[in-house]
């Protein structure tokens, strides 16, 4: 079992004080976590109000998502899975686009031109080889940009995961593989998923560094991610980072975890909450206060509400949009099928 990197312990105590970053950065890490927690909570509420479709919450994994995404520059690549709204938002995905995505609107598929962000990956593990390719392309062009991809414990059973690790090692691709071990692949616990108890060790088989991090300690996640990103930038190749965390929420808003797990383990993990952990630490150092918390909450509320308004303002897609963007130029068949849709609409 590899050592679990932890800088701030579950009770908010500094375990590795020598690795603590500057107060300004600590505050940035905290704000980033609070921001995506706010999104996650509001998203679930929107769903209950019928204003959002099926949504996979990431609550409890904020440290893992924000800590890793913050290690990137805007010129790097991010390949998120459907559970990584938090990472995508931290990286720069506009909130209204994220809302639109979970409203199943094509507007959620459009990304700002300057953001190398891919839409949430649904087929499990398929994003890993893509990240390897994007990283290789940056290397070929002589930039020091890197790619970061996310996966879960379940995804690490897929062939693509292994092929990508091997490819990245063999071709020395500047890529950071984030493996968020949140204990569950829908209803299957990691212990059923694999006999392995330390997923970071899988890196060894491919000759690349593997790091195991307390996924609820954002300081540790950021530290490990930044080290891996820095290594990748300087030509030292890929890293696999396992963030040990927990999916305290359901798989999606339509899932009932009561069918497959007791709340006991979940309670244990709630006590390890990443947001509260850093808040306790910051307060203990006099770096945070209740007034600032209230101000931050108001700020996040306003930001989210404005984003909802922008999301509400996106026009409803037209039926013919189904056929748009299939090719650069529509084929004759697509043109005929477009006519068919228009004809059907005319009745």
């Amino acid at each position: 079992m590899s050592e679990l990197l932890q800088i701030i312990g579950p009770g908010g105590e500094a375990v590795r004080p020598e690795l603590l970053p500057e107060p300004a950065l600590l505050e940035q890490l905290y704000r980033a976590m609070r921001r995506i927690r706010h999104f996650d909570e509001r998203a679930v509420i929107l769903h209950r109000q019928g204003r959002m479709g099926v949504y996979p919450p990431f609550g409890g994994m904020e440290a893992s998502q924000a800590g890793s995404a913050l290690a990137l520059r805007r010129s790097d690549w991010l390949f998120p899975t459907y559970r990584d709204s938090g990472a995508a938002l931290t990286y720069g995905m506009p909130i209204e686009r994220c809302i639109a995505y979970w409203r199943t609107s094509p507007h959620g598929w459009s990304m700002p031109e300057d953001l190398k962000l891919l839409p949430f990956y649904v087929p499990i593990a398929t994003q890993y080889p893509h990240a390897v390719g994007a990283a290789l392309a940056e290397k070929m062009r002589g930039t020091d940009n890197v790619a970061m991809a996310f996966i879960g414990d379940g995804g690490s059973s897929e062939g693509d995961f292994h092929e990508a690790l091997n490819f990245a090692g063999a071709l020395n691709a500047p890529v950071v593989f984030m493996l968020q071990n949140n204990g569950w692949a829908i209803s299957v616990p990691t212990s059923t998923q694999t006999k392995a108890t330390d997923l970071s060790l899988r890196a060894q088989g491919y000759g690349i560094p593997g790091v195991r991090v307390d996924g609820n300690d954002i300081v540790a996640v950021y530290h490990a991610a930044l080290e891996a990103v820095t290594r990748a930038r300087s030509g030292e190749g890929p890293t696999l980072i396992e963030t040990v965390t927990y999916r305290v929420k359901p798989h999606t808003v339509s899932d009932d975890p009561g069918r497959y797990r007791t709340e006991e383990a979940t309670r244990t993990w709630l006590e390890r909450d990443p947001v509260r952990r850093l808040k306790t630490f910051l307060e203990g150092r006099g770096l945070w206060s209740e007034e600032r918390e209230v101000a931050l909450e108001a700020e996040l509320m306003a930001e989210f509400e404005q984003a909802v308004e922008r999301a509400d303002a996106f026009p409803e897609p037209e039926p013919v949009e189904i056929l748009e963007h299939v090719f650069k130029e529509p084929t004759p068949a697509l043109r005929r099928q477009r006519e068919q849709i228009l004809e059907e609409l005319r009745g």
Binding site: W77, P106, W109, S110, M111, E113, K116, L118, P119, V122, P123, T126, Y128, P129, H130, A131, V132, G133, A134, A135, L136, A137, E138, M140, R141, A147, G159, D160, E163, A164, N166, F167, A170, L171, E324, H325, V326, F327, K328, T331, P332, A333
Partner: protein, 321 residues
């Protein structure tokens, strides 16, 4: 034909620094059919490289390269080895432009030798083009002559969307012709009139075109005038040329070596039935491989692949209707 393909790859690598080429054994060895011979030596290991033996990895990595602005050309050693990459192909390859609303696109080419007729080992002779033609957002191109192979491959590499480029193994060394020097493209989605005729239209592509040409010769000896259309690309399909020809001849035979059920021949036949029923003097007839895995049994495998005799019989059948 293999030399024409090598020539096209050379020109593309020379012309555009974002073109890169990779796959199993494509580098040092130059490919199992030598299609990439000498390219690594000339363009270096960064742009022409050997990969691990992992098709999903090859296609998936290629997708990433393409998303990030390269023009990747992935070689899959045999079309029948594409299957491990089907997840990447079905889930991703053709969807990027669509699911990013044009923010990303994928100018990627996947080359693979396909088809039978040369006594390859088991699973080396598949014709999976219909599976891929069925995937929205991907193009499928299959040349039948060396000069077409060169021009179509360069057009495929230039194309801003993903293109499958299947090369008939049978034609690699058996067909020879003078290929124009220098850089030129043959547009995707435009069929070639391989032979002009008036009695019956025969539609084929890739390795079947030469089989149909022989059948047409045989038919001509019996006074039957065959119009032979080399489809060249399945997606986009040049329906117009096919229908114009059928309107003229009133009869159609479609020839592919892939299995019959849900094969691309069905697509062509259905299109003709839908669009040109009034012109038809007889039902459209398909000549295809069988609904069985391609048999790697040297002594009998030639019974699987349509041959000139089978095609000639179908031609007589539609004329006798």
């Amino acid at each position: 034909m293999v030399a024409a393909i090598n020539d096209a790859l050379t020109l593309a690598l020379e012309r555009d620094p974002s073109v890169c080429l990779f796959g199993e054994d494509v580098g040092v060895m130059g490919g199992v059919f030598r299609a990439t011979d000498g390219l690594q030596a000339r363009f270096g290991k960064t742009r022409v490289f050997d990969t691990p033996l992992a098709e999903a990895g090859i296609v998936g990595t290629g997708i990433g390269l393409g998303l990030a602005g390269m023009r990747p050309i992935a070689e899959i050693q045999f079309a029948g080895f594409l299957y491990p990459a089907l997840d990447q192909i079905l889930s991703h390859l053709g969807r990027y432009r669509h699911r990013t609303r044009g923010r990303f696109h994928l100018p990627m080419v996947i080359r693979a030798p396909y088809g039978g007729g040369v006594h390859t080992p088991e699973q080396h002779a598949d014709s999976p083009e219909a599976i891929l033609a069925h995937v929205p957002g991907t193009k499928v191109v299959i040349p039948s002559t060396p000069s077409d192979a060169k021009g179509l491959l360069l057009a495929a590499i230039e194309d801003d969307d993903p293109v499958f480029f299947f090369e008939a193994i049978k034609l690699y060394r058996s067909v020879k012709e003078d290929v124009p020097d220098g850089y030129y493209t043959v547009p995707l989605g435009k069929a070639r009139l391989a032979r002009e005729g008036s009695d019956v239209t025969v539609i084929a592509y890739g390795g079947m075109v030469e089989v149909c040409a022989k059948a047409a010769e045989a038919a001509a000896a019996h006074g039957i005038s065959v119009e032979l259309i080399d489809l060249r690309s399945l997606v986009p399909m040049d329906t117009e040329t096919v229908l114009e020809s059928v309107a003229k001849t009133g009869r159609a035979v479609v020839v592919t070596e892939a299995p019959r059920t849900s094969g691309f021949a069905s697509e062509i036949a259905a299109t003709i039935a839908e669009e040109a029923l009034d012109a038809l003097e007889a039902p459209v007839v398909r000549v295809t491989g069988f609904d069985a895995p391609y048999p790697p049994f040297t002594s009998i495998e030639d019974h699987y692949r349509p041959n000139p005799v089978r095609v000639a019989k179908a031609i007589r059948q539609v004329l006798a209707y």
